[in-house]
Assembly symmetry: C2
Homo-oligomer: 201 residues x 2
Amino acid sequence: MSKVTAQVAISLDGYVAGPEQSEENPIGVGGMRLHDWHREPEGQSAVDAEVTARMLEGNGAYVMGRNMFGPIRGPWSGDWRGWWGPEPPYHAPVFVLTHEPRESLAMEGGTTFHFVTEGFDAALSVAREAAGSLNVAIAGGASAINQALAAGVVDELFLHVVPIVLGAGARLLEGVGTPSFEIAEVLSAPAVTHIRYRAVR
Amino acid sequence: MSKVTAQVAISLDGYVAGPEQSEENPIGVGGMRLHDWHREPEGQSAVDAEVTARMLEGNGAYVMGRNMFGPIRGPWSGDWRGWWGPEPPYHAPVFVLTHEPRESLAMEGGTTFHFVTEGFDAALSVAREAAGSLNVAIAGGASAINQALAAGVVDELFLHVVPIVLGAGARLLEGVGTPSFEIAEVLSAPAVTHIRYRAVR
């Protein structure tokens, strides 16, 4: 059955990006350290390699926040096509939450960015339709995942808990009410603990 | 070698107590759910039983915040002797951080509460002396552990990560700078994930 999932690397103090995000520093000051475990395949632990391989598996569509798509705020300018080069890793439709309308953007390898101006619920609805029997993944950042959690639609939340403290930045699980989860899976790697949670409803 | 340790049950959103702490609700609204895994020995998983057994092991002295000792704010009144009855589980000197002087309080079973008005560093110093070759445990709550983390003196932080979201309350790892840890141990239980972190200095 189709699920709505979210997965994200998170610091011990609950941040998924550091402060002062910019084009030069897309994940904020210190935020790149959240991603060391999957950025360098060489020397990666077996567990981290498995989790990395599963990151984009089984997803038929994505919902993504605008800050995750790019650093541009306000009306679109230039021809920003995401952080990922000509062939993004999604290979599926990606519905980007934005207040600024824009034509859909077909990339190589099957990724198409669609820009949704009617809010999270509208984006999820078209993503579900596009995904069919596959999953819809909320690709991040914090705000998009928090909106999904607040809406009560997240079936699985997969946290990659990195033992650093960022002190400031984009906080996950803020303004989402008081949901409960059960533990579906714990994958213990040397430098990160991967915990997959299932929503309790 | 003597270590400074802290261990605490924490929600997914980083709270170690819920909002609105009071004498009737010492751990705040919803906060008691952080402690289900060790409150009811019956039916406890083997991992939780092991972690519960280790909770007070190897400690020669404790440092405790005033809110953890009791609900009284401002000058002492009445004869509050802690939440734990005539024989508290510590069996060692407990140094309570407070702005209000009070005579030491000897309880049954070797626990003595000492009241320290000179701040965290002073409390840690007398606790280290009292502990000798045993460990000093920062018993909580959030503020006492955060002071210890900010001071850079915590050697081990043992988090019991409970898959609930409290939404408000007493937050751990706030105002502590940006310390890093390494993962010393992960103990996976059905309803809580116990992760012991070692400070990286």
